[in-house]
Point group: C2
Chain length 378, copies 2
C-alpha cells in the first residue's frame, strides 16, 4: 500500500525507532522516577535525554519545561485549561483543529470563556490585521496552529506572537503538523507554549506527545502520583512533574527520542524540501485535471507545508478516498477533525481528500496516485 | 538484575507483547478511526479487539464502555472528575494512592467537594462498619483501591459496593495492583467504573491504561478530535469516543492486547498462586529476621495480594533498597505515592521497602533477596 496519510500519523517509522522501543521493553522495563534501583535510573536517564532533545529541537526554555503527554490533544487541553479562567478571552485562527476548538468551546459553555476567530489569507498583512482586530481588553491567550492540518497553510507565527505579546496575551502554538517538518523555534518565534505529537513528523510511535513551555504557571487538569512529595495531597508545583501524573510512556518516549535523532540527522530542512517537492508534483499533476478542485496555496515553500487538499467534482471526498484505497493508495477523505477549516474554505458539503506525503514517499508513488485520480476524475 | 518491583511496572514483558508492538509499528502504522483506508481499518480492528478483551476480562458492560487512557491515573482523573460536582461527598479508603487522593483534594479546594476516609482492618466486618459510618446524605461516590499498592491488602469489593449502592452512591475501583493478579468482576462485584493500567499485571507496555464503566454520564476533562462529528464543537457524547480525544496509542493497545492473551492463557488464578507462593516465601523468610519489621497481613491468599512491605530497624527504607540494588536486586523503597497508607500504618518516618514479585520470578530469586536482607539486617 502506498501511504499518503502522514498528516494523520507517519506511516513509516525508521528502524531505529522500532528498535529503541523494543530495547526499552526488553532492557529497562522499569518505572522512571519511582524507584532507586539501576533499571529505574536507566529509564529515568532515557526520559531525561528525550526531554533535552525536545527542548533543543524547538529551542525551548529548558528541559524541565518539557512534559510528556499521550498526544498533542492532551497537551493542548493542559495548556489551554491551564491558563484560562472565567471571563478571559482567547483568539484562535479559522484553521484550528477540534483539539483547540472543543476545549475552548467547553470552557465557553462551562465557565464563560469568550473566543474570537481570525481569518487567514495568502496576504500576510491581511492575516495580521484580522488577528489584531480580534483582540479585546480581556484577551488572555492566542492559540494558533503552525500549519493547517487540512490545507497545509503555514501561519506567520513570529509576526502573530509579536502582536499577541504587545497586547499582553500569551501565544500558544499547536505544532501537530509542523513538528519535524517546518522549523519551529520557540524563543525566536515568541512561542510561550508549544504542543506537539510524537507520532507525526517526529517519527515516533502513536501514544506520545509533549507540552513545552516558558515556565508558565499552569493549573492542572490531571493530578496523581509523581514519585515525589508523596505526603503532599496537592499536586507538586515543580516541573516537569506538575504536568506528568502516573506512569510515563517510557517505550514511547524512547521511540520519540530515536525519531528526533533521525530527523536531526536527515535535517528538518531536507525533509521539508523533499516532502514539498512531492507535494508540488501532486498539486501540479492535479491542477491539470479539469474535474479536480485544489484548495489553498500551491506548495511553493513559503506559506505551504506538504499537505494537499482536493476534491473531484461530483464526488464526496470519502468516495474518492475509498476508490484510491481500492487502487492501493492510502489518503484521508472527510473533515479531518477540523470543521472550522471547512467552514472557512466552503468545503462543508464534501470535505476534502487530503494527500500528505512523507520523506519516505517517492515520485513513483505520486505518479501512481495521479494516475488513479485521473481515472476517477475522468 | 533480579526484578522485584512489579507493582511499579512489570519488569518482564512476554515476547508476544514486544512482537505485537513491533508488528503494529511496522505493519499498520495508521491512525484508527480517522481514515477510510485499509491500514487505518486494520488499526481500528486491533483497537476494537483489545476493547473486547478488556471488557470480557473484567466482565464489563460492553466494549463501547472501554476507553483507552495513557495510564491508570488519567483514567481515575477522568472517572472522579467526570461525576463529582461542588457539594458532593466522596468516600475513599485509608489505603488510596495519590492518583485518587490528589484529584479529590483538588476538587475539595476548587469546587468544595467533601471527602471522608474509612479505615481498613483485617476483620472485614470492622472495615465494612468503618465504610458505612463514612456515608453522608450527599455521598455521591466511593473510590476504593482493589489492592493496597504498599501493603498488598485486598479490599472486600463486593461487600463495599453493596453498601455503596444501598446508599445510592456510585462505586469506582482503582484496579492498579489488581488487574491481571486477582479476579476483578465488574458485574458480580458491583463495580460501576474500573480504572486499570496496562503495564502492570496485564503485562502490556507503559503508556496505556483504560477506564471501563457502566454507561455512566461522565463530563469530560479532555476534548478534541475523535474522528467523528467534525463540525460539532461539543465533544461527541457517544462512547468510547467521548473519553478518547486525539490519536490513540495503537502500539501500546496492541501490546496490552497481547499481554491480556498471555494472562488468559496462563490464567489469573495460576498467576496469583505463583506470585503468592513467592510472596509467602519472602514474608516467611523475613519474619525470621529479628531486625526486620513486616507490615500488613502475611500473604495467605484471602486478604493479601503478592506485595510485601518491610523495614530494617534503624534504616530508612531507601537505604535498604539502595543496598539491595548494589546486591543486584531491584525493589522500591520510600512512600510509593501513597502518603495516606503510611499515615495509616505509622510508617511516615521511614516509608517501606516493597517487594512485588511477578510470575516470572523464582524461589531462587527469593533466596538471593533474603540472603541480602539478612546481611543488611544483621
Amino acid at each position: 500500500m502506498i501511504y499518503f496519510d502522514n498528516a494523520a500519523t507517519s506511516g513509516v517509522k525508521p528502524s531505529q525507532v522500532i528498535s529503541a522501543i523494543s530495547n526499552a521493553l526488553e532492557k529497562y522495563s522499569a518505572n522512571p522516577g519511582r524507584s532507586g534501583h539501576a533499571l529505574s535510573f536507566e529509564a529515568s536517564h532515557q526520559v531525561y535525554s528525550a526531554r533535552e532533545k525536545l527542548d533543543s529541537f524547538f529551542n525551548g526554555y529548558g528541559s524541565e519545561f518539557v512534559s510528556f503527554t499521550s498526544n498533542c490533544t492532551e497537551a493542548l487541553n493542559i495548556a489551554i485549561k491551564g491558563v484560562l479562567k472565567g471571563g478571559d478571552h482567547v483568539v484562535i485562527s479559522c484553521l484550528e483543529h477540534n483539539s483547540v476548538v472543543r476545549p475552548i468551546y467547553k470552557l465557553q459553555k462551562e465557565i464563560g470563556v469568550e473566543y474570537s476567530i481570525f481569518d487567514v489569507y495568502e496576504d500576510e498583512m491581511k492575516t495580521l490585521r484580522s488577528f489584531e482586530s480580534s483582540f479585546r481588553k480581556n484577551t488572555k491567550l492566542c492559540v494558533v496552529t503552525a500549519v493547517s492540518n487540512v490545507f497545509g497553510t503555514i501561519l506567520p507565527l513570529a509576526s502573530l506572537s509579536a502582536i499577541a505579546h504587545s497586547r499582553g496575551a500569551l501565544f500558544f502554538v499547536d505544532g501537530a503538523q509542523a513538528a519535524g517538518v517546518i522549523p519551529v523555534d520557540m524563543k525566536n518565534q515568541g512561542i510561550d507554549c508549544l504542543c506537539v505529537p510524537g507520532h507525526k513528523g517526529l517519527l515516533g510511535p502513536m501514544g506520545i506527545g509533549a507540552i513545552i513551555h516558558n515556565n508558565l504557571d499552569f493549573t492542572t487538569i490531571i493530578e496523581g502520583g509523581t514519585g515525589t512529595a508523596s505526603f503532599d495531597y496537592s499536586q507538586p508545583s515543580g516541573y516537569p512533574e506538575r504536568l506528568e501524573s502516573g506512569t510515563l510512556n517510557v517505550p514511547g518516549i524512547c521511540g520519540l527520542s530515536a525519531g528526533i535523532d533521525w530527523v536531526n540527522d536527515y535535517t528538518c530542512h531536507r525533509i521539508f524540501n523533499k516532502e514539498t517537492a512531492l507535494a508540488k508534483s501532486v498539486s501540479d499533476g492535479l491542477s491539470l485535471m479539469k474535474n479536480v478542485i485544489l484548495y489553498g496555496d500551491l506548495p511553493h515553500g513559503k506559506h505551504h507545508a506538504p499537505v494537499i487538499s482536493f476534491n473531484v467534482k461530483g464526488l464526496h471526498s470519502e468516495q474518492v478516498s475509498l476508490k484510491l484505497n481500492d487502487g492501493g493508495v492510502a489518503v484521508r477523505g472527510g473533515y479531518h477533525c477540523a470543521g472550522l477549516s471547512h467552514r472557512f474554505m466552503g468545503t462543508e458539503a464534501t470535505g476534502t481528500v487530503r494527500v500528505s506525503p512523507s520523506v519516505f514517499n517517492s515520485e513513483k508513488d505520486v505518479n501512481i496516485l495521479l494516475n488513479l485520480v485521473e481515472n476517477i476524475a475522468f
